[in-house]
């Protein structure tokens, strides 16, 4: 690893959408090494980017991933738990397989990876863990019961481990975007999105820049006392 690298940032679900944008944003600084992971290959081509193809829904995969990072880089400052899947459907139309997938990816993978990654992050000063939630959680949106439940659990997890990990100098926070124009919502009818937007304070789509702004806020060293917080956009 280059001696100029100051921060190593792990972004999950980095092959597309918000995760890819986050990875590319932090690669604009040569001080950063960004590690990404997803089930598919990455199209990011940067000497300061390392990609692992991995299925995080399997708990053993999170251990494998962290062992590789430890062996290859042996440093981690920031974990951005971005990976997520969504299902916008009535509960009665959501299959048991889909329910398993949502809970495995959105909740279990985050818990397992956070557990493993914290062991490496705690060796650095000002460690950061940032989770992704959704504005659909406080809105209790109908048609998103399983997805929102998984994110509500992430919010509880965020608040609790913020307390548990503060002794190691690690802060844990979450950002909850409103609708973002990504694959996650591409199959949702426009009238449903409009209905969600109408319930927000600022009735607009969330942009990537809006999310990056919150990430920067959580990450900067002056935010050491910003801990266990959930910031919703919109």
């Amino acid at each position: 690893m280059s001696k100029t690298i100051q921060k190593v940032i792990l972004v999950t679900g980095s092959s597309k959408g918000i995760g890819k944008s986050i990875a590319e944003y932090y690669l604009t600084s040569s001080d950063n090494l960004v590690i990404g992971c997803s089930r598919s290959k990455s199209t990011i081509n940067n000497k300061n980017y390392i990609h692992y193809e991995i299925d995080l829904s399997k708990s053993e995969s999170t251990i494998d991933l962290m062992m590789k990072i430890k062996k290859d880089v042996n440093q981690l400052n920031i974990l951005i738990n971005n990976v997520g899947v969504a299902s916008m459907n009535h509960l009665l139309l959501t299959t048991p397989e889909k329910i398993d997938q949502i809970i495995d990816v959105n909740l279990k993978s985050v818990i397992n990876l956070t557990r493993e990654a914290s062991k490496l992050i705690k060796k650095e000063k000002n460690g950061r863990i940032i989770n992704m939630t959704t504005v659909a959680s406080p809105l209790n949106l109908e048609g998103e019961s399983v997805y929102v439940s998984s994110k509500a659990a992430i919010e509880a997890f965020t608040r609790i481990i913020a307390k548990e990990l503060s002794a190691f100098g690690i802060t844990v926070n979450a950002v909850g975007p409103g609708p973002v124009k990504t694959d996650l919502i591409k199959n949702i009818p426009a009238h449903k999105i409009d209905k969600i937007l109408s319930r927000l304070s600022s009735k607009e789509y969330t942009s990537i820049d809006d999310i990056l702004n919150i990430l920067d806020f959580f990450i900067r060293k002056e935010s050491q006392l910003v801990n266990g917080q959930i910031i919703y956009l919109g």
């Binding site: 251990i63 062992m67 430890k70 062991k119 705690k122 002794a167």
Partner: protein, 97 residues
């Protein structure tokens, strides 16, 4: 990996602990009480010690072992009560891998 290796790993982890806790030094002796009544470690100290041991087992012996399972905390006699019981516990974990 023999019993001496295990004790050596525990002692190195204790060195780490003693370095950051100079006012609560743990004596490196098999009978030293670690956790529980009259033990030197609080819950955070125990977490740090366990992580340090797990880290060293992985680095030096490529053993990826989780020491803090539910069984460990529910056993009548805690495996973390002293250095000797901890070494025996690690020995069993490695043997049952």
């Amino acid at each position: 990996m023999n019993n001496e290796n295990i004790i050596e790993i525990i002692y190195l982890a204790i060195d780490d602990y003693n370095q950051i806790n100079p006012n609560n030094v743990i004596i490196k002796d098999p009978e030293t009480l670690l956790y529980g009544k009259e033990g030197k470690l609080d819950s955070l100290g125990l977490v740090n010690l366990i992580l340090s041991i797990e880290d060293r087992l992985l680095d030096k012996y490529s053993k990826n072992i989780s020491l803090a399972d539910d069984k460990a905390f529910s056993e009548r006699t805690s495996p973390f009560s002293n250095i000797s019981t901890l070494a025996e516990f690690i020995r069993n974990k490695i043997d049952n891998e």
